[in-house]
Structure formats: structure tokens, C-alpha cells
């Protein structure tokens, strides 16, 4: 399908990536383009795969999620932030940094 929404999943927990992939794959019109385990990998993969949406966790080792997010947003990608807490003090900086929205 040409008009599928291609998603890049960015999370440092493999178990979460797998779960997200499983769920997203049940959704028609959404295809998982790839999985990245940290911010650095996310930036590389985004450049290579050109996903329509990037679904990313902010708390990751290596390159901080927020740094990666700023870079990806700067490159024009659409980003949804995954977070465990609505009051997460990273949500607003993330939105300010260019995230399109966040998922609880």
C-alpha cells in the first residue's frame, strides 16, 4: 500500500518496542518502518527510512531523547512523544522542542 503511514519506534526497552510494533501492526494503514534503541540510532534511521511519524520515548541512555527530538524536529519529522506520566516535566519541553503531541 502506497498510502500507509510509516512509523519509526524509538524506545530503549526492546519489550516495549515489540509491544508497540504488535499493536501498530494490527492497525490498518499503519506500517512499522523500523525500531531504534536510542537517540543516536533514531537520528540515523530517520534519515535513512524517512518515516511519516516518529514515536519516541524521552528517557533513554546514550543520546538524550530531548536532544534527538530537537534534531529530528529540525529535520522536519513529525514526532509523537511516549511518556508514562502526564505530569512528566519532559512533556512540555518536548512539545516546545517540536513534538506534535504526546501519548500517555
Amino acid at each position: 500500500m502506497v498510502d500507509e503511514v510509516r512509523v519509526l519506534i524509538v524506545d530503549d526497552h526492546a519489550i516495549v518496542r515489540k509491544g508497540l510494533r504488535a499493536l501498530l501492526e494490527t492497525e490498518p494503514g499503519i506500517a512499522v518502518a523500523g525500531e531504534a534503541g536510542d537517540g543516536k540510532e533514531a537520528v540515523e534511521m530517520a534519515a535513512r527510512l524517512k518515516p511519516d511519524v516518529i514515536l519516541m520515548d524521552l528517557v533513554m541512555p546514550g543520546m538524550d531523547g530531548l536532544v534527538a527530538l530537537r534534531r529530528l524536529a529540525g529535520a522536519g519529522f513529525k514526532i509523537l512523544v511516549l511518556t508514562s506520566f502526564a505530569t512528566d516535566d519532559k512533556v512540555f519541553p518536548a512539545l516546545a522542542a517540536g513534538a506534535q503531541g504526546y501519548l500517555l
Binding site: H13, I15, V16, G19, A22, L23, T26
Partner: protein, 491 residues
Amino acid sequence: MRFPRLTAAGWRPSFRRLRWRLTVSYTLFTVAAILLLEALSLLVLHTFLPHAAGGATKGLILEMRRAAAEIAPLLQRDPPDQSSLLARLGERRRQKRMSFSNPTRGPGKKPSDEVRPIWAVFDAKGRLVALEPLSLSAGNGAVSIEEAVAAALGRRAVSSPRTGRTRDGRFVVAVPVLGAEEEPLGALVALFPRPRGPGSFLLPLLHPRNTVLILFVAGLVGAAFGFFTGGWLTRRLSTIAAATEAWGRGDFSVVARDEAEDEIGALARRLNKMAGKIQELLQDRARLAVMEERNRLARDLHDSLTQAIYSLNLYGEAAGRLLAAGEVQTAAAHLAEIRAAARQALREMRLLVFALRPPALEQEGLVVALGARLEAVEARAGIRAELKAEGIDRLAPAVEEGLYRIAQEALNNILKHAQATQVTVRLVRQGGAVIMEIADDGVGFDPLKGEGQGGLGLSGMAERAAALGGRLSIESAPGGGTVVRVEVKDG
């Protein structure tokens, strides 16, 4: 308040050096003080009794030489003419008072040291021939005539005038009695009474033999005093030192017991205060460590359990949708994933619960704590866990703590990443070292890559080993299991 006593087995420094140093310095100071006193006495005597410290005057020697010449013929006779000798000497006594120094007294005052001496005549063999006045017995003074003569003559034949002093401070002058051809016939000795006046009581002290005796006794007293003072100080200092040593070992039940109101007592009290502060700080640190551990647990909970349960949720949702759409096979695969994830979550849950209630390492020791850990976590997670610790009882507290933390980290890694079915923890003593090996049959990893990532807490483990003065090595390869080996000195 009663203070706990130190056991005899406890470390107690001897401070022997201090004790001997004090003994030696007390002795030296005493001897130096006595010598100073002697010097002062001499000064006093020179000031008040110049004649006593000085020698015979020329006038006295001349007078005695004349008397000696007069009695020479009488002494030459065989046997010596004793009665004539006595008569002649008695005459001289009556004729003239004899002074044995040049008194510098004011005019009109009678010199107090112009006194009549006792005359004694000796023959060439040193035998007493005559004593004038006869009424004076040898036992008149504290010192015998023989001794007086010895003091003046030094038990030698006298060929020129000599002076000396008896032990009780009397002044003695001896001149030779010479024959016509200058051959020695004997000696004429004048024994003056002890001079009176300020400082005269010092005279006996200044006699060389008395001086030696005084120095000896004073030195002994000084040494004894130093020895006992040294012992007393040493005991007190070693009590304090033993207390500080106990504190160093972490035993704060010991108190430096010294209630004296002096500087050492004050030092002991300050040290006790300091020990109390250190104990408080240590307790604070322990509390902080507990808080830090709780924070770490909270992080771990978020990191592992939250993520796993979140994933379960996602999988569940996906499986539900797939089942509704009739895609049973994919749904079944997801359900299998759910099982695996739930099992992993359960393991980590146990780990966290165990971390919340760790075995009392301090009381039970490393071996018991490791056994408890393997049973509570690994065994329940379906891993065959074995602990081999033959001949290892208790180790130094720091070693036990360090080794336990390393084992814990290694076991946690195995549990989370290795997918192992078998774990073996081995503790062996080898020489002065203790070796701990944690081996698993899991998936292994590339140690270089693992270290580079800084995950898995490998650097933390190596740091702990280094802090104990030991080494940590990791052998692993993808698919080949892992062996973590720590070697530390025991103690």
C-alpha cells in the same frame, strides 16, 4: 556511667619508647640539676668563704715551712723526739695565730678564719709521730686524722706543699719536713677546723666523693621517678590509643576512659566527643545509603516492571484486535510473547522484592547471604543455582560487602540478560586471597562491547573489586556463557 573495658586480646600499643625516653630525660635532668647546684654552691663559697674554696696562702705555707725546718732535726732522731716536737709545735701555736687565707675584712674586725690548726707530724713511712694538742683525739671531728692526711697528701710522700679538704669540709695543709740534704723525713700537717660562715654547710657537699655519691643517688631517684611517671603517662595514652584503634575498626562501644582534669583527660574527652560525631555521621551515611537504595529500586521498578507491564498491555490490546479480526495465529504468537514477558516481569519482581529485604550480610555472612539470594531469586526463576563455598566461613566485613555487591550485580545481569538455565557461584580461598567465580550457561556477550556501553554495571563491579585491592575479569562470548571472576585479598 560505666565504660566497657577493653579486652586483653584487644590491640594495645606499648609506648615503651616514650617510657624509656622519659626515664632517660628525668635522669639526665636530675643529674644536670645537681651539677648546677654544685656550681652554684661553688659560686656562693667563692663569694662568702673565699679561703675555703681557694688554697693556702703564701704566708701560711711559709710559716709551715719554717716550722717544718725547726722540727726536722727532732724528727731525724731515732726514735723521733716526740716530746720536743710537741713542745716546739705547742710553742708555735701559742705564739701565733695562723690564718689560712687572706681575709678581706674591714679594719678592726677580727678575722673569723684566723684559727689555730691541729698539728700532726708524720714520718717518711706515713706513721703518725706527733699530734698537737695532744688532748685532741683523732675522733674529735667527723673525720679521722689519717683521713685528713690522706685528703691532703693523697697517700703519697709529700715533697712539696699540698692542700686538701676532708669530707666534712675541713681544710688540710701539708708541707714536707726535709733533712739537711733535702731528703724527705716526713710531713707536717695542719688540720684547720671547718670554716664558719654563710655557705659553710655546703663544704661537705662539694667534696668530690660526696658529689659523686649525691649524683648517683639523685640519678637513681630521677630514673625511678621518670620510670614511674613514664609508666603512668604510657598507661593513659595507650588507653586512648586502644580506643581510637577500636573506633578505626568501627567499634564505637569503646570509650577513651580518662577522667583526669589535665590535658590528656581533656584530649580523651574531646576524642570521645569526636567519636560520637563520627558515629552520628556514619549513621547518617547508612541512612542515606538506604534512601539511595530505595531511589534505585524505584528507578529499577520503572525501568523493568513498568516497561514490561506496559508491553503486556500493548500485546494484550494487539492480541484482542487480532482475535476479533480472526487472525488467530498471530494472536497466539502475541499471547506467547505475553507469557514470556510476564515471566520476565515476575523474575524482576522477585529480584526487587529480594532487594527490598536483603539478607543480613553483617550478621549472617557472605556465604549465607549468597545462598539466600540464589534460593530466593534464581531458584524460583527456574534457574539451577549452585553455591560452592567449601572452607569459607567469615571474611573481613569490607570484603564480604564488596563481594556480595559484585555477586548481586553479576546475578542480576544473568537474570535479566543471560537466559541462563544454570548458575554456579564458587568461593575459594587461595593463599591469602579469596576468589569468587560466578558462571552461567547463558547467551553470553562480547565483554569489550559490554564494557564500552557502560551498561550491565560492569565498570561498577570492577571498581568495587579495585576498592578491595583486587581484580575482576569477565570471560564471555556470544552464545558461550559468562564467567565473572573476582580475586581479592582477605583482610
